[in-house]
């Protein structure tokens, strides 16, 4: 599973915002409930709770976290963010 830094990097690249609290809460679910509860039921409920507590942006970020944990969204999907191809700066001579 990706670490918190990877989750934050993906959120910043794909959603334009990254809140560490969301990922702390998401991982706390595993700490409290155990890895077997990583899948659908508990985390979907957890995402709803995060939406209630922190709002719509946090809900998107929590969903992205879940999709990363499942391997649906991978580093290839947001790797472009750090790529020099997207840079607008002039190359140094």
């Amino acid at each position: 599973m990706p670490n918190r830094r990877e989750h934050l990097k993906a959120a910043k690249a794909l959603l334009g915002h990254a809140d560490p609290l969301v990922h702390i809460l998401m991982n706390r679910a595993i700490e409290r409930l155990g890895p077997r509860y990583l899948y659908v039921r508990h985390n979907a409920a957890y995402i709803s709770a995060i939406k209630e507590l922190l709002g719509e942006d946090a809900c998107l970020e929590a969903t992205l976290h879940l999709l990363q944990d499942w391997g649906v969204v991978t580093a290839e999907d947001y790797g472009f963010y750090a790529s020099p191809r997207r840079s607008n700066r002039e190359p140094s001579r």
């Binding site: 899948y39 659908v40 039921r41 979907a44 998107l60 649906v72 790797g79 472009f80």
Partner: protein, 104 residues
Amino acid sequence: MDIREERAAMDERRLAALETLSAVVKWLKDTKPSEIFYVEGESGKGKAPAPSMSDEHLRVIWQRWVAKASDVLERSAVIPDLLLADVERIFKEEKSNAQSSGTP
């Protein structure tokens, strides 16, 4: 209803639930923006967004997809008769398939 009939009906519902979940996972993988809007890079370093797309445009597309995925997951979380072990197996199979086909 006889216990065997009851058991058969439960198994049938469980299989239907599994199919639904497999379809959800497939839908997520097939529709993610990188599958549609990314092109193969020049240097063979993997896929990258099409050059005509700005970062902002791409973010809006990802935000919409994640919002849709959130809706779908919320609905699929209430599938009846689905065992946690089944869900785990689906994701394990997905990973082993990806590894055997050489994709990351």
